[in-house]
Amino acid sequence: MAVTELAAPPARPTPGRKKSPATSLIVLALRKVGTLLITLFFASLVVFFSRFVLPGDPARFLLRGRSPKPEALVEITKQFGLDKPPIEQYLTWVGGILHGDWGRSLTYRQSVSDVLLNRLPVTLELAALAAVFITVLGLAAGILASLNKGGWDRFILITVTAAGAIPPFVAAIALTALFAVQLGWFPSFGSGDEGLGRLWHLTLPALALGLTFIAFMARVTRSSMNEQLTREHVEVATSRGLKRSSVVFRHVLRNALGPILTVSGVLIAGLLVSSAIVEQTFGLTGIGQLLVQSIDRLDFAVVQAIVMIVVTAFVLANTIVDLIQPLIDPRIAAGTESR
């Protein structure tokens, strides 16, 4: 390879014409949505073709762990279209997903979408409650630490570092041992009824699920706030005699939101994945538990569907975060063309 080639600086996109902020915002949004769709397309390829890495009869793979009669093999071949070329099978599968037909579950003997719809509310409620804990406790701890240098800051930092290293399943066990078995304040198992009963049943799981993320959120908030607190505009606001609360919330926190928001996309995905473990531990009938059970019972159509849902939620969350960013900080939208 020629020396000059190596020495060439990394290629930079040529700056485009100046556009109005609104136009660049739309361009940004379109580009993000485009990336989203492309990622989802390739993700669906991975999820669908993953079972082709195993050699052998696909009908027997799908019916593993059962002792299939010949009729069953014929039946499953017909149902999944296994005699057709793989590309056609994929197109049928994707087409079905887009039309709400997710295939049939072998264990439940009903359509995957029905099974999923039954299970989805618990998972969403669990994730939502965990998100509330993360936002409230994480933000509060982070803000408290950054505004109180010294003892409080150290205490929160140490607590948060320790809490951040406790994996959800360990947190689940510890919380069960303390609050369900020893103190008997909360139930250790089941999803409970609607309303307050549900909330009561979901409190421990949501805490177990959220613990690492609360810690993570607190750390990001703290460092992001600390960075803002040293800025000149904060000093100016303080010296102009604005109220402390006004300075903190309108000048520091608003500017500190960027990094906090960036990590929330990752957090949401983490919540959905870890909820599989927490739901299984607490016996909650959500899609996380369904995923674990379906792997256990070799119900591959359900596994594929749930993996696809979680990946979609993950990519979607990150895209939404990317799109909200410029609304909080207009420089990001403006920066798309100068960078």
Partner: protein
Amino acid sequence: MTLTGTIPLLRTRSYGSLLSGTGWFAAVVTLVVVLLSVLAPVLAPYDPDFVDLSSVLGGPSGAHWLGTDALGRDLFSRLMYGGRTSLMGPLIVVAASTVLGMLLGLATGWTDGWMSRILNRIFDLLFAFPALLLSMLAIAIFGKGLMAPILAMTISYVPYVARLTQQLVVAERARPYVQAYRVLGFRTPWVVLGRVMPNLVPTIGAQSTLNFGYVLADLAALSFIGLGIQPPTSDWGAMIEEARGALLGGHVLPGLLPALVVVLIVVSINVIGEELSDRIGGKLS
């Protein structure tokens, strides 16, 4: 030959300042846990799978230092043997993903051809699959055990290592010593592998240390929900799962001990990893 790209770590810092007091403590804890696990066949007082129904759920005693589980098996011995499986998985994942990710990162960070672009798109795609999710998909295909999640986790962590390497490589490429080697006519592979890579190893190593903790927690979680290591093989995650019945009956120790060990080792490794990346990788940010 005086133009050597020395490893910054060795040039500017003595090993004494590599870790703080807390960091050294964490390192000693890690070392003790690793040694106890590695030497389990020599040191363990009991066969980890020996069932003794006459001493079920016994508390700590002279015969059983940490007590026994619901089948009367010695907890201390099981913890030691459990460490072997619980530490081996993350070790394989971290070693494989570090080597693969670093090589791919070097290649894609140094060149800008179509191969690099395709690899970068593949990395982007893999970022959409959280490691634990990809592991579950792999288990659904290959079956329960350690093999499928190790494979999936390795694939999941390669892009992270590769992205970090790319950032470092781009910064390193502009440094004078690299230019000097080029002018002197050294071959690119020799410069990249022989002179640039050693400069990146400390920073990447620090990140990989952190990854070890994450992988350990995820693999233990998989064993805990019954998709990883299968009983009766002792594994920290599987031990916690097996102890759940005892836990609900008020016997805390069989579940609490493996949980404590997992947290202890993850905290220790996080402390070491973060201190290393602060002290070595500080120049990156």
